[in-house]
């Protein structure tokens, strides 16, 4: 165990968190003290702060060897480094996509940006968690920021309702997490994840299994795995689209890290138990997510069920229970998040003041009205459906491969069958955009050129990573091993 003193080297490893915390204070202060004109700079200032913080992270925070700091509370490794950079990028792009949307609904306020940054800080803490305390700290920091963001549109009843639902259910999940952690702590006498892993080698007692069960429940809730997914469609539908975009992207990375650090690393000794639990969850998640998505008429809600279905695949990566499986889950998470970023970005661009563009029928004939947006959306839909040449295909392939390597025959068959079911509702979006005539009275899409460029790049990345998947696959494998 390393020293507890705050040395220069330990501070350097934690530079993402430190610089981000400084940035949060700065944005908050500027927003409080600036006048009306100054406040309009908050979005730009936030993006600038993210850029500076990311630059500092690259310059000082790049670690290649795994090391623990602050008495084992904090793990600095390359996985964390890369995930944090990805989270920087996702949050920055998400904020970029959201600006016009917020402005149109008069909720472009500094608090929104501060909350996004604190959520990002929560993600960082979670990604680098080395002990149960840090895990909990990260989970709560992230969750509380997000609850507030969901309720951000005060005028909207449905937002308030979904925030309330999210909060209550989230509190139950946090309770389950804490209870599970307390059991594990009581039985092992340590909060340190590495230490827990070392002490759990004997055959597991009923107490450990009980604690594990509660932790799995909490993890499943955070990921949105069936039957702990109830909050997800309501929150996705009820939250302002910019918040849905936020929730649907960067936090997924954090919850991947949560699953990895807690289950795969800390509770590795109970792998045979949690693999069974997760495989049951994964099957349920795949079936419910894909089947229920078919009957949705709201695009945001459909994408929520699609998220659930994709979570099923991510969980399957963990079910494989091998480093290869975790690498597959990581790859799947990154790919999924890239696609989700674009899909919600399209919804944001398609919406106007007083027009949410969240119904599937709002996309009829989109191709006529906005070819670029339709093309981007089609790319993303085919990618999530897992059709080459788009990157989503490789993500599914990687999961299948990891499952075959561990001889999970039935899971492969179920996952393959469900991915065919999933194709149906992704194709339906393409059908609406390309095959149907546009209804006469739909408002046009937003012309924002910068956002369009970003969306175009987003779709181009989906294609390019699909044509040449090698580097990202290698990176994911290296980060896990």
């Amino acid at each position: 165990m390393s020293d507890t003193l705050l040395t220069w080297s330990s501070a350097a490893a934690a530079v993402p968190e430190i610089s981000l915390a400084v940035a949060i204070c700065l944005v908050l202060l500027v927003d409080v003290f600036a006048d009306e004109r100054g406040r309009r700079l908050t979005p730009t200032l936030t993006l600038l702060a993210l850029a500076v913080s990311a630059a500092l992270t690259v310059r000082y925070g790049h670690v290649t060897e795994r090391s623990t700091l602050f008495a084992g509370m904090y793990v600095a490794d390359e996985l964390g480094f890369v995930l944090k950079l990805a989270a920087y990028l996702l949050v920055a792009v998400a904020l970029l996509y959201s600006r016009a949307y917020l402005e149109n609904r008069s909720i472009l306020r500094g608090e929104y940006y501060v909350l996004a940054l604190t959520a990002l800080l929560g993600i960082f803490v979670l990604v680098s968690a080395g002990s149960l305390v840090t895990v909990y700290l990260g989970v709560e920091l992230l969750a509380l920021s997000v609850y507030a963001m969901v309720a951000f549109d005060r005028e909207s009843g449905i937002s308030a309702e979904s925030a309330m639902k999210y909060f209550v259910l989230g509190a139950i999940a946090s309770g389950a997490l804490l209870y599970g952690m307390s059991l594990i702590y009581g039985l092992t006498g340590t909060l340190d994840l590495a230490e827990i892993a070392a002490r759990l080698k004997t055959p597991n007692t009923a107490g450990v299994i009980l604690g594990l069960t509660f932790i799995v429940v909490a993890v499943a809730f955070k990921l949105g795995a069936v039957p702990f997914h109830m909050w997800l469609p309501d929150v996705y539908e009820g939250a302002p689209t910019s918040v849905t975009l936020f929730i649907g992207t960067a936090p997924k990375i954090a919850y991947f890290a949560l699953t990895l650090r807690l289950l795969a690393e800390g509770l590795a000794g109970t792998a045979s138990e949690w693999v069974q639990m997760l495989s049951a969850l994964a099957v349920l998640t795949l079936v419910v997510g894909n089947v229920v998505a078919i009957v949705q008429s709201n695009l945001k809600r459909m994408l929520a069920y699609s998220t659930i279905a994709n979570v099923g695949f991510i969980v399957l990566g963990f079910v494989a229970g091998t480093p290869d499986g975790y690498a597959a889950a990581l790859y799947y998470t990154l790919v999924y998040v890239l696609v989700a970023l674009g899909s919600f970005g399209v919804i944001l661009l398609a919406s106007r003041k007083g027009f949410e563009a969240d119904l599937l029928d709002d996309y009829k004939g989109l191709h006529r009205r906005d070819p670029l947006l339709a093309l981007v959306m089609m790319t993303l839909m085919f990618s999530t459906a897992g059709v080459p040449p788009f990157v989503g295909f490789w993500a599914k392939l990687r999961i299948f491969q990891a499952l075959w390597e561990t001889n999970h025959l039935w899971l492969v068959v179920i996952a393959a069958g469900m991915s065919v079911v999933g194709v149906y509702y992704y194709l339906r979006v393409v059908k609406l955009m390309y095959f149907d005539e546009p209804p006469p009275a739909l408002p046009g899409t937003q012309p924002a050129a910068g956002v369009r460029l970003a969306l175009g790049l987003n779709a181009a990345a989906v294609l390019l990573l699909g044509l040449l998947p090698g580097p990202l696959l290698d990176l994911c494998a290296r980060l896990i091993h």
Partner: protein
């Protein structure tokens, strides 16, 4: 010439993107670019054919670049005697499709040409990939343009048809992927050659065979997973029907020859009766179904299913031939027949769909009942149509005869009953095709719309004569085709009858 295969794949794709960028506003330039690209691709098959060494079964003109080192997957291309004719067929059939759409396609023409050109590249990719992952990549990617072609330019029930098409094919393909991954995990490579050499137990082979069968049976399509085809054909625009019938169905047959037989030879031997039975059902039952169709396109679609039954029959009778006669040559004849039938059916069905397209463009109906006496107003067209119809019934001197004759002859060595049942197609095929011709072409002019018909224009004339020429050349002189295939077929027979257990 190095990189020839890559050029064949990426030239049409690049041209397709070019047409897309030119957009509907510059469609005149876009059309000419599409035509130039499809002709250039066709021209590239000349050096391909010329430089092909007909004495070897080893993949030639190979290209090999690392693609995904992690999976040991390569961007690996090559042609052998099976893929070469199919690549040429693909390049050949895209040209008439481009020409046929020249003035007919009015909505979003740029996307129309782009979709066909991109699909041409992807289809050539399917036939030339020597890495299973690359094969699958092209195989699936191809679905996207076809989905759009049927969905955007199709008929009234296009959405139903295109969804059915996509979901059916995707369902089959996913299980092929699962089987491929299984073999990769076992053998550590996606190269098709190493998959073919991978030792597998009988149980493994059975499951792999069934997974592959699902994928290829949907594509061929075999009874009972054929129901997507009539819908897709009826709703697709003419060009889509042509490509679907001429090339896409061949991928199922190609898959049997490239994957099923060499990878799972013991399972193929064990389950050959299953495939033979399904093929014979396709030939006879679907033949009867074709007889009662009211819609010309549907009739040709059912006729396609029946004729593709010959391909699967020819591929799988080899086991009984070897069992009965111990003659590898006899078995080779079955496979020869299957290959020739694929090429010939590609030309004939493509031509027939183009003929229906010619009529549809003028009358806007595909119902047989709306026509009658077309020969009186369109004599030149009628002679083409009759020629292709006769080729479809397997008239000697046309390509249709060669493939069917070889398969029937070969299956005689397997069992008298196979050939007797297969020969029913000669009667049924003649019945439904000639009856179609009688009702549509001959007789007195039945309606004012037919009376107002104008004969072929220059564009249509060129397209149909090129196809007629090809049908006759393959029919009269199939020797070069058989010669190109011979070493590969021999090798394939050896692989297919060897045991892996």
């Amino acid at each position: 010439m190095h990189g020839l295969l890559s050029m064949l794949i990426w030239l049409p794709v690049a041209a397709g993107l070019g047409v897309l960028l030119l957009g509907d506003r510059n469609i005149v330039a876009g059309r000419w670019l599409a035509l130039a690209a499809s002709l250039a691709t066709l021209a590239l098959t000349v050096p391909l054919w010329a430089s092909f060494d007909t004495s070897s079964f080893v993949p030639q003109l190979t290209e090999r670049l690392p693609w995904i080192p992690r999976f040991d997957a390569w961007y690996a291309l090559g042609v052998d005697g099976i893929s070469l004719p199919l690549i040429v067929l693909t390049a050949f059939m895209t040209v008439p499709v481009v020409i046929a759409g020249w003035t007919v396609i009015e909505t979003r023409p740029a996307q129309y040409y782009a979709a066909f050109l991109i699909m041409e590249g992807l289809m050539i990719g399917v036939f030339s990939a020597t890495d299973a992952l690359l094969f699958y990549f092209f195989w699936e990617a191809m679905l996207i343009p076809m989905f759009l072609i049927i969905g955007i330019w199709g008929g009234p029930r296009r959405v139903y048809a295109t969804f059915k098409f996509f979901l059916y094919t995707f369902l089959g393909s996913v299980f092929m992927l699962v089987a491929l991954i299984y073999m990769y995990v076992k053998g550590g490579s996606y190269s098709i050659a190493s998959l073919q050499m991978l030792p597998l137990t009988l149980v493994e082979q059975r499951w792999i065979f069934l997974a592959l069968l699902l994928a290829f049976a949907v594509k061929v399509p075999m009874f009972p997973v054929h129901t997507w085809l009539p819908d897709a054909h009826v709703e697709a625009p003419t060009g889509g029907s042509v490509i679907l019938a001429a090339i896409m169905l061949k991928m199922g047959g190609y898959g049997f020859l490239r994957f099923s037989l060499p990878i799972a030879p013991d399972a193929s031997r064990e389950l050959d009766l299953l495939v033979i039975a399904l093929s014979l059902i396709a030939v006879i039952y679907i033949g009867f179904v074709a007889l009662v169709q009211q819609d010309m396109k549907k009739l040709i679609a059912y006729s396609s299913i029946a004729h593709m039954g010959f391909v699967t029959l020819g591929a799988f009778v080899i086991y009984e031939i070897v069992r009965n006669t111990h003659s590898l040559r006899g078995a080779g004849m079955g496979l020869d027949g299957a290959m020739v039938q694929m090429i010939s059916h590609g030309l004939i069905s493509g031509a027939l769909f183009l003929c229906v397209g010619v009529l549809y463009d003028r009358v806007h109906s595909r119902q047989i009942a709306d026509y009658g006496g077309v020969v009186n107003t369109m004599p030149v067209f009628a002679s083409f149509m009759v020629l292709f119809a006769l080729a479809n019934t397997g008239l000697p001197g046309t390509s249709g005869f060669v493939g069917e004759f070889l398969v029937i002859l070969a299956s005689f060595n397997a069992s008298f009953w196979y050939s007797a049942l297969a020969a029913v197609i000669l009667v049924l095929g003649a019945a439904y095709t000639l009856w179609l011709v009688k009702r549509v072409i001959f007789g007195p002019v039945t309606s004012p719309r037919v009376a107002a018909l104008e004969d072929l224009n220059g564009r249509e004339y060129v397209v149909l004569s090129a196809l007629a020429l090809a049908v006759l050349v393959v029919g009269v002189w199939p020797a070069p085709l058989l010669k190109v295939m011979q070493p590969t077929i021999h090798h394939l027979v050896a692989q297919a009858i060897a045991t892996k257990i």
